[in-house]
Amino acid sequence: MPAPTTEKKVSNKNLHKAKKSKNDEFYTQLSDIEKELKHYKEHFRDKVIFCNCDDPEESHFWKYFSENFEFLGLKRLIATHYETEKPSYKLEIVADTNGDGRINKLDTIRTPLMQNGDFRSPECIEILEESDIVVTNPPFSLFREYVAQLFEHDRKFIIVGHQNAITYKEIFNLIKENRIWLGYGFSGGAAHFINKYYEDYATAGDHREGMIRVSGVNWFTNLEIQKRHEDLILYKKYSQEEYPKYDNYDAIEVSKTKDIPLDYVGAMGVPVTFMDKYNPDQFEILGCSYVYGEPIGYHIEGKGFNVSISGKEVYKRLFIRNKKLS
């Protein structure tokens, strides 16, 4: 059995390889889309849905919304296709254009675009302006820029991203201010994306034909969901021995989310995966280690950005406080 780190390295290598060979298309599976989006059904009624950064002919997002157009009561569905170097097209469903009494994929209108369908192109921004909710799997490499655009235009969204994005400087500020949060997620915290172009190195039990397994993937959204209002049940009692303090920041180290003590009033450092259990009524996010640890003021010039215990650096941490104590 290879160590987990090996697997990570391999999939990163694969991602790079895929990017180079222009096969950077990771299609989210329909069953994963269904499992997440069933929690948002009431948000879609009478809304304009926009799926960009996707090849609508292949995309299961398009498939999901076109098959469910009437069921969800959509107002309009738009998808744009991206071409690297030539003009592209958009697909749209608005009404029962073929007059068969139902609104579905048979009513799709295909219109050529002047530009290549890049989400940053003026044409696509125009479509974004007309839409209410963006649902897609944007390229991980452009995630910051993609989210920045959504906020600039003040749109609602449900998008796939990597959990590493939580600590990107720009994204983290939004997380801290409760303007973006995690969705229900993929089972086991890993997604199988459809990508025919290269080999998956997932271990035998996890391997699926024609797919690539990427761990640490989640949904990011700013739509209200029940999940973020569920309290995490705490049961551990604080003790100095079990929860050491950091050398360089006044907080205790909690290396597993489930071990958050129920009676500690001050700041606590938790792994990034805490976000999956985060309820803004229960906890407040104070900051985050690494580069953007700076705003909370412990970073010393010339030293690392992580917190440390007895001189030993601790992996990336979020700093939180229990709001219910004080």
Binding site: E67, Q226, K227, E230, I233
Partner: protein, 360 residues
Amino acid sequence: MKIELREIAIRDVVAGYTNNQEDGVVGYAGKLNIRPKYQREFVYRDRQRDSVIETVRRGFPLNVMYWVRNADDTYEVLDGQQRTISICEYVAGNFSLDFQYFHNLTDTEREQILDYRLMVYFCEGNDREKLDWFKTINIAGEKLTDQELRNAVYTGPWLTDAKRYFSRTGCPAYAIGSDYLNGSPIRQDYLETAIDWISWRTIEQYMSEHQHEPNAFELWSYFQNVITWTSTIFPNYRREMRGVAWGSLYNEFSSKGFDAEKLEAEIQVLMQDEDVTRKSGIYEYVLTRNEKYLNIRSFTDRMKREAYERQEGICTHCQGHFELSEMEADHITPWHAGGKTTSENCQMLCRGCNRVKSGK
């Protein structure tokens, strides 16, 4: 006890279907508790889920299901939970089969599904009768554990709350107790053990007494106390500690003072004593002083024969002569006084004398 086989159309089961964390999974116009909240969440694989729908669409029969009638005219799904959820989720439009959602089917296809009849055994009776009956029918398919059966009988707010702590993967009871308990939370082993401990082995009585209480805080706080007490008096963890009846020890000994260091020193000695054949019993022994927990090694037939010959068949106690088969081996220096299970420390007593001696 009344048991009745009825045909229930899918149309009726899916009526009023809701599935959320807050209320659990409900159907049959709100009268059917399909999965109480925090009930074990065995997740069906997509393939199993899809094959249920396939079966229904082709009009093939599904296995019979079991519903239990509660006092307030509601029902509980005892067997058939995953199949029922698969059907309801499909009709609710939450997943597709071959890229087709329920609402994309033709009217005829939809009607066929809604008209499909599930075979359901309805059962009603008092708690005792239900429990007996469940145990009897619990032979086919995915077997339910005793505690799962009890959970189907003693439903209510108390149980719902208890499951938050004891019955989920990664639940708090597992997090604090997995070093000390055997079994799995989702199969209700943790809940069973906790109730067994707090109730002094009268699980069903405890459940029926607490059934309608608003929460299970008493049980959870008791369980935390047991674990804290255990890890305080036995701070040096050994794997033999898993599966010990900690609650029973807690009930009996938590009010007495113990010196953890002294206990640890004694445990170390006993762990190395090859006459102690049941190492996990050491923990019970150091508190109860009852040697039966240690399963002290017994004399071999060879040792017995040697002692018998040495004594020339005379019982060292009453001086009578006996056949080997009429005699029993005994430690000359008792084990607790440092005597070992060796030939030199073996004497043969007649059955009568041995009974008298050990009964002293």
